[in-house]
Symmetry: C2
Subunit: 113 residues, 2 copies
């Protein structure tokens, strides 16, 4: 098995899609031989967001801390700590931190090879 | 998209493999058309455990609350809040709550169809 703590994983600033005040940690993925899907942890400061984007695969998200506004196509949802989101493959989507504190969520994606 | 809160998902008691004091919630999975992998939330009371078992697919785990002892074959690791675990496909493994408080973790698995 492979174990670790998220604080020991490099927090990589994200800038694609106009993303602001956001870092991502790859906890488990092809980097450590995960055969099917990856688990990442995303941290967004107050006022930050992941810009609208699309790709042909889903996200499976679980909110650890804070409150997110998730947009997918014409739909908008607020998701707080303990909430989960299935983001549909192929639909444009984004995530905003609409709280006063940090937003943290787990975001899993399938391997795309 | 599909959104929800884990407290609104049925907590199903687990008894296979001699498992005790454990419930599981299927947050995202084939039940809501997830095409590749499932996200479940496992809650284990103090003194409880998921019994040793094996299957031909991996787990990807993130600990939300508490402290787990994870056993995989001859390996044993303690994983606390914020820790993650990749459980190797095909190796016998189990999870114990070794803390005084509740243990909660996200556990993702690939679809097995």
């Amino acid at each position: 098995m492979i174990t670790g703590h998220y604080t020991d994983v490099e927090a990589v600033p994200q800038t694609k899609y106009g993303t602001q005040k956001t870092v991502m940690r790859w906890l488990i993925g092809e980097n450590n031989s995960a055969p099917n899907f990856a688990m990442r942890l995303v941290t967004i400061e107050p006022g930050g967001f992941v810009g609208m984007h699309d790709h042909p695969y889903e996200h499976e998200v679980f909110v650890l801390k804070g409150t997110a506004r998730v947009t997918e196509g014409d739909e908008v949802a607020e998701v707080r700590e303990g909430g989960f989101v299935f983001v549909t493959p192929g639909i444009t989507h984004g995530f905003e931190n609409i709280g006063d504190d940090i937003l943290e969520f787990i975001c899993c994606i399938p391997n795309t090879d």
